[in-house]
């Protein structure tokens, strides 16, 4: 059996080393990883996927540690992907989310993996989604994805998770204001963590008001829950709301969302594939260099060049330009 075959077999058996190596492959070599993912694909779709996002300092990791504890008490197996940013200057990353969850790392039914953003939001989205698939295929009943709520990554989590939990904390001040704009529309559940702090109630009211303004009278109105994860308070309630949201999805348009997600992913895959093959061919034949020369010499422009090229190659597709 070849190497990829071994990985697939290992992942399906729940072998932790195979899971780890497959995720590395996803990170380092997407085209090779695609082959493995396509073999795992039919085994995915069973796990419940929870996204947890929020600003630094809101206590996401501690909250996840508590959720894992409760899920384990219920006998569920759990996989966690914790995403942290890479430095844009050095490409290095400091991945410190595990530290809160180390107690669970030796539990055979828990798998924790840290991933760095590697400065590529599109690539990250794909890598995270595929890593979750690996956990799913390996038999984890719940997969949790933790991202820092800033910039691009929070939007991605919407596409990956069934339920997105946005974690905020009182006293983070301006951060919340700044982040709100991007974060408010993606939350299915809002958590005010560190609720034993002053101003927790003010934060709740603040978030409720914002939800009331943006909530388009859909059937699911995001609840706002207070937790004090460090003391284990409110996590049971949070888990209940996550289950409620899952039930809601199952009754209302779970299929619709799933179809939409598949459509998006398929479109992305087609885009990737066509771009790769066309650019690849142009490079091989030297046409690309030639075109660049023409554009530089102002004999044509990038748009017209693309039109001409695609007309030739995408015969049979009715493209509107």
């Amino acid at each position: 059996m070849n190497h990829n075959g071994q990985l697939v077999e290992g992942v399906l058996k729940g072998d932790r080393r195979s899971i780890a190596r497959t995720i590395t492959l996803i990170e380092n070599n997407p085209s090779e990883a695609r082959k493995v993912i396509s073999k795992l694909y039919s085994h995915t779709g069973k796990a419940q996927i929870i996204g947890i996002t929020g600003p630094t300092g809101s206590g996401k990791s501690t909250l996840i540690e508590r959720l894992v504890k409760e899920l384990r008490r219920k006998g569920k197996s759990v996989g966690i992907i914790a995403v942290d940013p890479s430095s844009p200057f050095t490409g290095g990353a400091f991945l410190g989310d595990r530290i809160r969850m180390q107690k669970h790392s030796i539990d055979g039914k828990v798998f924790i993996r840290s991933m760095a953003t590697r400065n590529s939001s599109g690539g990250l989205a794909r890598a995270t989604r595929d890593a979750v698939r690996v956990l799913d295929a390996s038999g984890k009943e719940v997969a949790i994805v933790e991202t820092v709520g800033a910039g691009q990554s929070e939007v991605d989590i919407r596409k990956i998770a069934h339920t997105v939990v946005v974690v905020l904390a009182p006293g983070l001040g301006d951060d919340i204001q700044a982040i709100k704009a991007g974060i408010m529309e993606i939350g299915d559940i809002f958590v005010v963590n560190k609720a034993d702090r002053e101003n927790a109630d003010a934060s709740v009211i603040d978030i409720e008001t914002t939800i009331n303004m943006s909530w388009e009278k859909k059937k699911w109105r995001p609840p706002v829950i207070k937790t004090t994860a460090a003391k284990g308070e409110g996590t049971t309630e949070l888990l209940n709301h996550i289950s409620l949201h899952m039930k809601y999805l199952e009754n209302e348009g779970f299929d619709k969302q799933r179809r939409q997600d598949v459509e998006t992913e398929l479109a992305e895959a087609i885009k990737q594939k066509t771009t790769d093959s066309i650019i690849g061919e142009l490079k091989r034949t030297g046409e690309l260099e030639e075109l660049i020369g023409k554009i530089l010499a102002k004999k044509t422009d990038p748009y017209s060049a693309a039109d001409t090229l695609l007309k030739e190659r995408l015969k049979g597709f009715k493209t509107r330009t």
């Binding site: 932790r16 080393r17 899971i19 780890a20 190596r21 995720i23 590395t24 990170e27 380092n28 070599n29 997407p30 085209s31 890479s86 430095s87 050095t90 490409g91 290095g92 990353a93 400091f94 991945l95 410190g96 595990r98 530290i99 180390q102 790392s105 030796i106 798998f111 924790i112 993996r113 840290s114 760095a116 590697r118 590529s120 690539g123 990737q272 790769d276």
Partner: protein, 134 residues
Amino acid sequence: MSRKRKIRIVVAKPGLDSHDRGAKVIARAFRDAGMEVIYTGLWQTPEQIAETALQEDADVVALSILSGAHMTLFPKITELLKKKGLNEILVLGGGVIPEEDIPALKKVGIAEVFGPDTHTGKIIEFIKENTRKK
């Protein structure tokens, strides 16, 4: 789009001492050298360290200890790594470790021991050199 391979390194403090100044400085130096640093924090048991290395598919495990328990804990860690099939992982030791203990540690699979006065650049160079071979 193929992405560049990154060195993934677990920085861990086995044992009970809490002198994490060195571990933190070195973690920052590794990050600034472009590595992905998985930091596990204090009081890690050998099992936790080995399991972390496995789940994170680390290339390197860097251990820092200043309590004197290295002769008990380091061999336990390398043994567990081997048991989990992580034979290629590069294991480094640092902290207050007497010269005379180093040969025995190397025998159980610690690739190198870096004492208190080591230039971080030297450690980074060692890692780059020895992970390239793999």
